[in-house]
Symmetry: C2
DNA sequence: CTGAAAGCGCTAACAA
DNA sequence: TTGTTAGCGCTTTCAG
């Protein structure tokens, strides 16, 4: 910066002011400085600047993984937004317990970012407290933490709508497949189950715990087992609502392998609306991670700008049912007959 | 840090030395300092440290998007590696031309990272030159740039093997579907086409430019058109090799909608082996983005440690053919007959 | 093995 | 509108 100052024949302060776009610089001097900076290929050192301003110009995000649809989409919308605000994006990936422990012990983001976005973790109280003392705004994404700014989707309503879609198609025996996630990774599971139950109750359909099962993403055998349980009930389900698209698709594949037609025999509904859903023509309850990312980013910028305001504010985003080809009206008894005759 | 020093009854220098793990600190003093630091919940400011050391502790990555399988996987393996080395991960997402121009104009990574990993961009010479003057090691990932460190997959060999797999199954009319990417995003398209051509030539199968077509990812109509062209040739292909899994799956869906059995009638082979391939039981040529990410990360750390060495080194990773359910032997004439009789 | 002192490159009062 | 000066929190000589 001294070089630029010398070349432009001004003081470093003036260079600093110019480069920060302060209006207290005369146009001619500004021009001279800017040219000198360009000629010298000069860029301000954020490190040095942050040392005195106390702001780092970084926004940190804590994610369980990057190779997941949700994170990819959310960060893809978050990044340009931060960039537009002149902020850098710092990513902390916490794939396992060891990394997690180390993160919360050492808090590497401390003093290294102006805000932290925590994605999809089921945090312990201890961890939350630790983040409270981080000295920067912490925004919880895809999860709600009382009294802290959070951005998430209305899972209860989403599952409610989804279930109602199936009810409206005439289904009464509707199974719900929960996802057992990697430990500590939040799938909003309970909210979605709740929405499912609410919708059934509202429609005077009795809850049947036999119809609620759980499996893991990617566990083919487990999914097959769970499906076997459902299919061997005295009154098997005519529709299956999986709380994640990936599981819904696994269910469909297993059913079709067993020559059970979807949706003619059994309707299947997912939740998420990832690209996979479109590939499989899967009816699903859509959420928009890019909206979530955008909202979270905006909230972060707001909190950085005027800390103290708005803390504890929750932003709840909507979901919407996308009917595709895997949900269909409950076959009437004679249709059923027909299906039996010509399988 | 002064606080820690006071609490431990030592000088700031000693605290600094302790916290950096230098061995020139007596065990008892070290213990005292560490305890004081813990009690005060102290963490060194990277900003201040980097101001004097000149190293930022950041590794920057430049990616065209984050919501793509390749990036997600690569970064997921890169991140823990950097973390283990005490480095932070800084992500620059460049989704469009405007962002791209601005990035190369302002070079925000300048002075803000110790190395830059550039993913999957088809860079202009000008852009490459700009990066050369960034003052930090730049590693090119999923692309080769002469004289600069690069990490990529052997696309020629991959396509060669893939084509040979189809040839070995008896296919002679093999189509190749290229992907037209977003501009500036590199798909290694030409290398893959070359490998395809090499394999054919090696097997004495004449090249037929009618069998080489191009479409865009996600462009259903375009894919259908291109497929129509292939199917209406005088001698239509019996196998289709798409240079990306997503296109291969789109091809399969279109074929099946037209009641052309895959693989009985036409074999389809993809390239990448993303999860989608497994969902669709797609035979494909696998590459491993997580290996790529890992290698690129290690190379970056190496170049940061001793700059000057190894520059211009290329790391080429292998591919492997994964046969699944969408490639099958060329039906013999009588089989063909049979298929015609019972479609 | 430890401490004192001199900056690293910038910004933010304060003066002019 | 511009320049001078005093740090920001650390690391790194250089003494001891």
């Amino acid at each position: 910066m001294a070089d630029v100052a010398e070349r432009a024949g001004v003081s470093v302060s003036t260079v600093s002011r110019t480069l920060r776009g302060l209006s207290t610089v005369s146009p001619e001097v500004r021009a001279r400085v800017e040219e000198a900076a360009r000629e010298l290929n000069f860029a301000v050192s954020r490190q040095a600047a942050s040392l005195v301003t106390g702001r780092t110009g970084n926004v940190a995000v804590l994610v369980p993984a990057l190779d997941a649809w949700f994170m990819g989409s959310a960060l893809s919308s978050l990044a340009p937004l931060l960039r537009a605000a002149g902020m850098e994006l710092n990513v902390y990936v916490i794939p396992d317990l060891a990394e997690r422990t180390s993160f919360f012990e050492r808090l590497p983001a401390r003093r290294n970012a102006d805000a932290l976005l925590v994605f999809s973790f089921d945090l312990t109280d201890e961890e939350t407290t630790r983040l409270d003392n981080l000295g920067m705004p912490v925004i919880y994404v895809s999860q709600h933490v009382d009294g802290r700014p959070s951005v998430y989707v209305d899972d209860v309503a989403g599952a409610h709508f989804g279930t109602r879609h199936l009810l409206n198609l005439g289904h009464r025996r509707i199974a719900f497949v929960q996802t057992i996630g990697a430990s500590g990774f939040s799938f909003s599971s309970n909210e979605r189950l709740l929405g499912y139950q609410q919708a059934l109750t509202e429609a005077n359909v009795p809850l049947d715990s036999d119809l609620v099962v759980a499996t893991q993403v990617g566990d083919k055998r487990g999914t097959a087992e769970v499906l076997g349980k459902l299919l061997s009930l005295r009154e098997p389900p005519t529709a299956i609502f999986a709380e994640q698209d990936e599981v819904a698709v696994a269910v469909i594949r297993t059913l079709r392998k067993t020559h059970i037609a979807v949706p003619e025999r059994i309707s299947v509904l997912g939740f998420d609306d990832q690209p996979l859903a479109d590939w499989f023509d899967l009816s699903t309850v859509a959420q928009s991670p890019s909206d979530i990312g955008r909202q979270a980013g905006e909230l972060a910028l707001k909190l950085i700008a005027d800390s103290g305001t708005d803390h504890g504010r929750h932003i709840v985003l909507p979901t919407i049912v996308i009917p595709r080809a895997t949900t269909a009206p409950l076959p009437s008894p004679q249709d059923e007959q027909e299906v039996r005759d010509h399988p």
